[in-house]
Symmetry: C2
Subunit: 302 residues, 2 copies
């Protein structure tokens, strides 16, 4: 059953989450060898939780270009492995020092710090291994393009660079301008979300204009997503959100909310979400789920 | 100037080290943006040191198959980025807790723990980015094969799995049999050395028998290398080796030396090195540098 058989977003998101979870379970290592503690830590952090929004974006983008379900699901799984690794490392004591993630103890609390670092490292490698495998796409040029774009999205010029900026942003709430915050978030979360939205176009060998349209959607959506995340940190409870909240203010971090105030931030997120949806015009009704996703991203309570 | 213009191993190793260092310098990010601390940490740990044995193996293997210098050097740089990341993470306080690496403070001592973790993460992504880039090879099928093999060599089923085993091996010197130690080392260091030796065959689209011959060389050489490393930990001084020594015994780690004793370990390393060189027979004199490398690996003092 393809994602496009769902016509309402909540069902489609649940469908994507369940499908990618099954694929991840198949792709993750298991076994009773001496290093099985590592496999357990990878499974603990990668499986059993999360909204799987990035997987949804991969699968939603893939339906626009008639990509096979296997290609879309394997790519979605790779993105979720990458995301899981980034959460494990972000939560470490020397980074954000979080005890709770998706309502469970973080990886280093459940296992130990060394195991958590290694589980993250191995999940990053697994993401590239899955993308490069011939089951992901019959054309090696497509597979290597996926690898190339993911590597750029998550390296020093993308996600990891953004996390470095984020750590340096502590205690600098007063000095950071909105431009600097936007750049930080575009790197830290935007780059992987952009990759997720655009992966379907790579898998489907889409024309340049359609790739660009999807890219613009991803860009605006990524920022809307982050503003919503900042709002949840201020307004959500830890029970709702599944992780510690009110952490940004405690760390003196500059965020969209600390700089714009909650009302303007909410308005900005809503504007970006509408803008994101507008970029999908060339796809017609086929992109309805992605349009609904843009609204969901800013309205969500967790 | 290709590597094959060198006929003696010490000069060839120096040539490979200098060439790959220049390539790495070009490929590493730099800039005055907010996250430049990350770039500095990546450069600090990746550049300016190390024997670059893995780069030599890539370049030495590549000369057997008339691979272009650029292809070989970019692949060698990717391997060295990967290796540098693994050293940064291995040195962390929650892992081996080392203060000294290649005669300099380790990355987390020079910067801080969070920056070191991120520098390692970004170097891993950079390795895959470099391999996937079209400058590395004109044929996408070759590039994606490199990505696929490297990802498998360094993930949960390879290097990271080996590091997990190594951490769990502390205080278990008495119980670990030689088979378990061999498996640990084959994963922890052997898999990346095998990739390095075999990369030239991938780049040069070698026939299966020649790939296998190089693979057998890599297998025996990897073990010889690790036994020599264990001997250096016991017999070398920290000044010679550039990192703390006598650490394995202090941590109660089972190694080839603790299990076999230094004399049998030395004999075993020499045997493996001779065996490795013998696998190179099909290549004739073209493989002379790789033969010399096998001897060097067991005779080195650092």
């Amino acid at each position: 059953m393809p994602l496009s058989s769902q016509i309402e977003f909540p069902g489609a998101l649940r469908f994507a989450a369940e499908s990618v979870e099954r694929m991840m379970d198949r792709l993750l290592p298991r076994g009773e060898t001496g290093e099985s503690r590592l496999f357990e830590a990878m499974r603990y952090s990668a499986l059993g939780g999360g909204k799987r929004l990035r997987a949804f974006f991969v699968m939603g983008g893939a339906t626009l270009f008639r990509v096979s379900a296997t290609s879309a699901l394997r790519t979605a799984a790779a993105v979720e492995f990458l995301h899981a690794y980034s959460l494990i490392h972000d939560d470490l004591p020397s980074m954000d020092d979080d005890d709770l993630r998706r309502g469970k103890p973080t990886c280093h609390r459940q296992f130990d710090e060394a195991t958590a670092i290694l589980a993250g490292d191995a999940l990053q490698a697994l993401a590239f291994e899955v993308l490069a495998h011939e089951d992901t796409h019959g054309d090696p040029a497509v597979r290597v393009a996926l690898v190339s774009e993911l590597a750029r999205a998550v390296g020093a010029g993308g996600m990891v660079g953004g996390q470095m900026l984020d750590l340096l942003a502590e205690h600098r709430a007063a000095e950071m301008a909105i431009g600097a915050i936007t750049r930080l978030q575009r790197l830290k979360t935007g780059a992987l979300i952009s990759f997720s939205c655009g992966a379907g176009a790579l898998l489907g060998k889409a024309s340049e204009p359609l790739r660009a349209a999807l890219g613009n959607y991803a860009h605006d959506l990524g920022l809307a997503f982050q503003i919503a995340d900042d709002l949840l940190d201020v307004e959500g409870t830890s029970e709702e959100v599944g992780k510690a909240t009110a952490k940004d203010a405690a760390a003196g971090k500059a965020t969209f909310v600390s700089t714009l105030g909650p009302e303007r931030a909410r308005a900005q997120a809503a504007l970006l979400a509408r803008q994101a949806a507008a970029h999908l015009e060339p796809f017609g009704p086929a992109a309805d789920l992605l349009r609904q996703a843009a609204r969901f991203v800013v309205d969500r309570r967790s």
